[in-house]
């Protein structure tokens, strides 16, 4: 079977089922897995819905614009056009998201306008002929049955007139007569990758057919519209009548996704700060890909429910009867449980602790209670980050800090009393009334169950204060008063006079702002807790980097190199750790490939196989003449494996030499 190329699996005739049966008696690590997975599916379904909504909403504005553009150009097709209507879609550098974007765009175009939509990629269009063939095939959705390469054979689709070649746009014209599509939208997804000459020819050709076929071109651009224009010659530019559309960049979408999923106040499971940091950094530095972000999130949820037994408590409306004793044992082993119990002991509640340790029922009560309160606390935390971000945005404070980074910092418990919060609070202290109006308006949107400040009364008092004045009111902390004074080259007397002359209104306003400030301050202090100090934080928040990193950012090269350079790490045997206490020495017991690899590491670019063999024989051979073929066989196998792994290649520089092509640790 192993030498067959492809086959459908068939189990071997004699199937041993015995070993599988044996396992059931032992401890089952997958206790209540199905319940946990069910919970996972429930919770993830909610998140996925949010993700879908965000993604749909993210570029709907741009899509609508493009659709409008297409329908506008279609409606004007009655009169003769001199140029092909062209949309330059600046889709940004994250190529991975281009495909889904054009797919969504195509759906909305075909739904909303009476036109046909075709996506062409550079891969399928190496030259004009193939481009046209593909275009015709996709437009007319004609299935090509003939598989022989009858490239130039006239097809029989036309009954009247001369027979058309299969790359003749006449096909499209014929089809157009039948269907009366308002426009034929041709999208070139990766316009940069197209051959320039091909683009020019295509534009020429489409233009010459424009009186018969209502073409609309969409160019997907990863760089910038300017550089696209620069590539095309003036002649073809004259045939195009363009409009530029900017697509929401992936980092903004990621930000929105983050707000909708991780920082959402309704999320039942949260992703911890370390993991968030990793995922966001990875987005920024490596992939820039919304799909990847969602996958990462999903995998985090999967890992949490798959591997952690206590996660079963996140299930909605869980009853005590549903639970196995294992789950309670697992909770008792949580570090946060220990901390909590120790605190209780210090408070002298030994009786309670005894009960928690002995009785599952009372523990269950406590758990349900704490999960609820913990989730409340985390929601408060999330909301306070929203508030903070909202305030900063409303005050247009610089530097602008993204919600994702605020949230990550909040979740790691460093935000309370941090410079970021202090700075924000200070600027609130000094806020003039015109800005306060804006701020209150912005904060009205943020009002929710988690936000307890009485905005309405502040609003009312502010309104009553503002009724009588035209100029914006200032607080006593406003530095602008002082600075005004100093510009007038006046004496101290004047300055103090001014302070004293803080008008009644300003005083009242100052009081208002101070109260508002104090309330906000109290709110932040109460809600910006360190979530890791919560009891059951392990259940409420997933923050393990271990499976996540390996699964998404593997280091295959490192793994292989490590396996070969120190096989002991994987094999865990006693024999391969070195010779006579010298860990660096090559021992004969190591796998042959590992020995050859370590000699390979010490060599230069060219390796003499003959010398390599004598070195290998010195280590792995036993010096007995009869056993030499066996050593040779091992050597040959090792060499072949190195070749297979892509570590060496043949060299023609010298006979019996191979060249080294990989360096360890790069």
């Amino acid at each position: 079977m192993e030498h067959q190329r492809c086959y459908i699996y068939e189990p071997p005739e004699t199937e041993e089922r015995a070993p599988k049966r044996q396992r059931t008696g032992k401890f089952n690590p997958q206790a209540q897995l199905s319940e946990r997975l069910q919970t996972y599916r429930d919770i993830w379904a909610q998140q996925e819905e949010r993700i879908q909504d965000t993604l749909e909403g993210a570029d709907s504005a741009t899509q609508d614009k493009i659709v409008n553009f297409i329908s506008a150009s279609a409606s004007s097709s009655g009169e003769t056009q001199f140029a092909i209507p062209t949309a330059l879609i600046v889709a940004g550098p994250s190529i991975a998201s281009h495909g889904p974007f054009f797919e969504r765009l195509g759906r909305s175009i075909t739904d909303d306008t009476n036109s046909v939509y075709v996506v062409l990629t550079s891969g399928e269009c190496p030259n004009l002929k193939t481009l046209l063939k593909n275009l015709i095939k996709k437009v007319t959705s004609r299935v090509e049955d003939e598989d022989e390469d009858d490239v130039d054979r006239p097809s029989v689709s036309s009954r009247y007139g001369p027979k058309l070649l299969n790359y003749d746009l006449g096909h499209v014209q014929e089809w157009q007569k039948k269907t009366c599509a308002a426009s034929i939208v041709v999208a070139l997804q990766d316009s940069e990758a197209f051959d320039l000459g091909l683009l020019v020819d295509m534009v020429d050709l489409f233009h010459s057919w424009l009186d018969r076929l209502p073409f609309v071109l969409l160019f997907g651009i990863a760089t910038s519209a300017e550089s696209f224009e620069e590539r095309l010659a003036g002649n073809s530019l004259r045939y195009l009548e363009g409009e530029k559309f900017d697509v929401t960049q992936s980092d903004e979408i990621i930000e929105k996704l983050f707000t909708a999923t991780v920082a959402n106040t309704d999320a039942r499971l949260r992703i911890g700060p370390n993991l968030c940091h990793r995922m966001l950094d990875r987005q920024k530095d490596h992939v820039q890909n919304t799909q990847d972000f969602c996958d990462g999130l999903k995998y985090a949820y999967m890992s949490h429910f798959y591997a952690s037994v206590p996660s079963v408590f996140l299930k909605d409306g869980i009853a005590f009867e549903d639970l196995a004793a294992d789950a309670f044992e697992a909770v008792r082993n949580l570090p946060s449980f220990r901390r909590w119990v120790e605190e209780k002991l210090e408070d002298g509640q030994a009786q309670d602790v005894r009960q928690l340790l002995d009785s599952n029922e009372s523990l269950f009560d406590q758990i349900t209670q704490h999960i609820k309160s913990g989730q409340q606390a985390l929601s408060n935390l999330s909301h306070s980050t929203h508030v903070l971000a909202g305030i900063r945005e409303a005050l247009r404070m610089s530097p602008s800090v993204r919600l994702s980074s605020i949230w990550t910092r909040a979740a790691s418990g460093e935000l309370n009393g941090s410079p970021l919060v202090r700075e924000t609070m200070l600027s609130i202290k000094k806020i003039p009334s015109d800005k306060l109006v804006q701020l209150l308006a912005a904060m009205n949107e943020l009002e929710s169950d988690y936000f307890s400040i009485d905005l309405v009364s502040s609003q009312q008092r502010l309104d009553s204060l503002l009724k009588d004045t035209d100029a914006p009111l200032r607080t006593q902390h406003d530095v602008r008063n002082d600075s005004l004074r100093t510009t007038v080259v006046a004496q101290k007397v004047l300055l103090s006079k001014h302070k004293a002359a803080l008008s009644e209104q300003d005083k009242a306003y100052s009081d208002l702002v101070t109260r508002f400030h104090d309330e906000l301050d109290a709110y932040f202090t109460s809600s910006l807790i360190d979530p890791r100090t919560l009891f059951l934080s392990e259940i409420l928040m997933y923050d393990l980097k271990s499976p996540h990193t390996e699964v998404f950012q593997p280091k295959p090269r490192f793994a292989v190199e490590r396996a070969l350079a120190s096989p002991h790490d994987y094999l865990g045997c006693d024999c391969c750790t070195g010779v006579d206490g010298n860990p660096a020495a090559l021992s004969a017991t190591q796998p042959a490939t590992a020995i050859v690899y370590q000699m390979y590491l010490e060599s230069g670019t060219l390796i003499n196989v003959s010398d390599l063999w004598s070195a290998f024989n010195a280590i792995a051979g036993d010096g007995v003449e009869e056993n030499e073929p066996k050593t040779m066989a091992l050597f040959q196998r090792a060499l072949a494996e190195l070749k297979y792994l892509g570590l060496v290649k043949p060299s023609r520089k010298k006979p019996d030499h191979i060249s080294k092509i990989m360096w360890k640790g790069l």
Partner: protein
């Protein structure tokens, strides 16, 4: 600008206080230089000037002789940044005649004059300029080395100065490297604790590695029979540990199935053949599917597609056809072209979703057969479909480079380290690979005897053609060999006749041109038409007695894949008409 201003002030005070002779002399030269530069403001002149004055050895020393203390490189540096306009005010240096004389004598003056002459005569050709630049560059590079010497020389002030740099030829001064910095003795092992990039350059340093000319004797390499015989009696000392590793990976099967269920695909990497793992996982999956919904209690069996990417000649078409055979009812007509077939398959999967996604187990996704252009993207499209579950393994070190960001997203892979240390029995043909690696693919036919065996069964013309080919190839390698004398020297370690190193032929001109061979064959009345010539060649090809390749120019070249000594033996046999 600040600098010039300051200097102007200095000069002004100089006029008032003529006692400061020494300081003046150093200032003098640049002032003199100013107008010269003004005449030739081009870059060329500048660089020349810079090259001349930037040579720390000669000029510095001479100024050092004159004004003793001030002979530091700094003073020459200033020259470079002098602006011509500034010193226009100082057309006539106001110094006393003695100063002028002294200055005239100074080496700097001399060199400045030289520059003046050169620029005036327009002799500053580009070549010279670049040459000077080279010298400058060398000096900058060499500075480090010379620092040591210089330190010693500076302290004594009496060391005779070497001649001006213009007289020195290209290249680094002979002694500079060795004298200035004692060369480190080369050790056979790389210096430890180098950062990775440094290590790379260390390994790739020009002329870095010297290897001996030893060659393996023809007998020492095993052929297939010997290899398998030797391997049969071999027992791996780590069988237990390897078994443990497999067991360890076995515990993850359930997790992998969960991941597959959630729409991810799986990629296994790590050292050792992962075929064992995929095989067991397939069995596990099969049993699991058999016990679940659509199959339980029925005669129907789940279908799992297994693809061995490593086996020679696996194509996308094979892959797609097998998948199609598992998914599509037998009666349906399917397109023939892979691309169309893929479209058809994906379409079919979307319109007729099955009860569970079809598992596709792909061993060695990075095999050479699935690496080329359309295959990865087609596989990615396949893997992206929710009705396909892909489990693949990857063996090579750099396999992630196969996929760009877009493809990677489509694949939706989760990676798992599945190091097994198992031997790649099915994946590699050891003997063949080693022979290929050492350029001894001729051993495939069974060496000289094998060729003889084949030739005996062929007609007379075939033997004639083969003789011509062998002779031509030998003649060629003789000509080429003349250029590669260095490899011809017998090594001291060559113990037997067989160890005599073989002349090496550069890859580009290896083998006999197809045209040439054809004409020779026609001349020798071996064949009369190209058709018969081709027929004869095909016979050789089928027995792997010859190989062909298109070289860089696009001409086809043919050669007999034997080493020189074997070729000679062959030629002898052929000449004796032994076959």
């Amino acid at each position: 600008m600040v600098g010039t201003k300051r200097r102007r002030d200095e000069d002004d005070t100089d006029e008032g206080t003529p006692r400061k002779l020494r300081a003046r002399i150093t200032d003098e030269a640049p002032d003199e230089l100013g107008p010269l530069e003004a005449q030739t403001p081009s870059r060329k002149g500048r660089t020349q000037h810079l090259a001349e004055n930037g040579t720390p050895r000669s000029i510095l020393k001479k100024t050092g002789l004159i004004d003793g203390v001030h002979g530091t490189p700094k003073s020459t540096r200033r020259l470079v940044f002098e602006t011509p306009t500034k010193s226009a005010n100082h057309e006539t240096p106001n110094g006393t005649p003695t100063i002028v004389r002294n200055a005239d004598r100074s080496a700097r003056r001399k060199s400045n004059r030289r520059i003046l002459e050169r620029t005036l005569n327009g002799a500053g050709s580009d070549e010279e300029a670049t040459e000077d630049e080279d010298i400058l560059a060398e000096h900058i590079l060499g500075e480090e080395a010379e620092d040591l010497e210089q330190a010693g020389e500076d302290s004594t002030h009496e060391v005779p100065v070497p001649d001006t740099p213009s007289k020195r030829g290209r290249g680094r001064p002979k002694g500079s490297g060795k004298v200035g910095r004692p060369r480190k003795a080369r050790s056979p092992t790389p210096p430890a604790e180098l950062p990775p990039h440094e290590e790379y350059f260390w390994q790739n340093r020009p002329g870095g590695t010297k290897t001996s000319n030893n060659t393996l004797s023809a007998q020492s390499l095993l052929n297939h029979d010997e290899y398998f015989q030797a391997m049969q009696s071999y027992e791996d000392g780590h069988a237990l540990e390897m078994h443990f590793l497999q067991e360890l990976h076995g515990r993850a099967y359930h997790q992998w199935m969960f991941e597959l269920d959630e729409g991810f695909n799986i990629c296994l990497y790590g050292y050792g053949s992962k075929r064992v793992i995929t095989e067991r996982f397939t069995a596990h999956l099969y049993r699991h599917l058999l016990e679940s919904a659509p199959y339980q209690g029925t005669k129907k069996t789940p279908k799992i597609v297994v693809i061995n990417g490593y086996s020679a000649g696996t194509t996308m078409k094979d892959v797609l056809m097998t998948i199609a055979s598992a998914m599509v009812p037998a009666g349906l007509k399917m397109p023939n072209q892979p691309a169309a077939l893929l479209d058809f398959l994906l379409d079919h999967l979307s319109t007729h979703p099955s009860a569970h996604p079809l598992p596709v187990i792909l061993n060695s996704i990075d095999s050479p057969y699935l690496r080329k252009s359309p295959a990865p993207s087609m596989l990615a499209r396949l893997a992206a479909h929710p009705s396909i579950n892909l489990v693949c393994t990857a063996d090579t070190l750099n396999f992630p480079l196969l996929w760009d960001v877009g493809l990677k997203t489509q694949y939706k892979l989760l990676f798992h380290d599945a190091t097994t240390f198992a031997t790649y029995d099915a994946e590699i043909d050891t003997v063949e690979t080693v022979n290929d690696l050492l350029g001894r693919s001729g051993r495939r036919v069974g060496g000289r005897d094998g060729v003889g065996f084949v030739l005996r069964s062929l007609p007379e013309q075939a033997r004639g053609l083969f003789r011509i080919l062998v002779m031509e190839q030998m003649a060629l390698s003789l000509i080429e060999g003349a250029d590669f004398e260095q490899y011809d020297e017998p090594t001291a370690t060559a113990k037997s006749k067989k160890m005599v190193p073989v002349k090496n032929v550069p890859e580009s001109s290896q083998g006999v041109e197809y045209r040439v061979l054809y004409h020779k064959a026609v001349e020798a009345f071996v064949c009369t038409s190209e058709v018969s010539f081709r027929t004869l060649l095909k016979e050789f090809h089928d027995h792997q007695m010859i190989e062909s390749r298109k070289d860089a120019m696009g001409t086809e070249r043919l050669w007999v894949p034997f080493r020189q000594e074997e070729l000679e033996g062959l030629a002898e046999d052929l000449a004796r008409e032994a076959f």
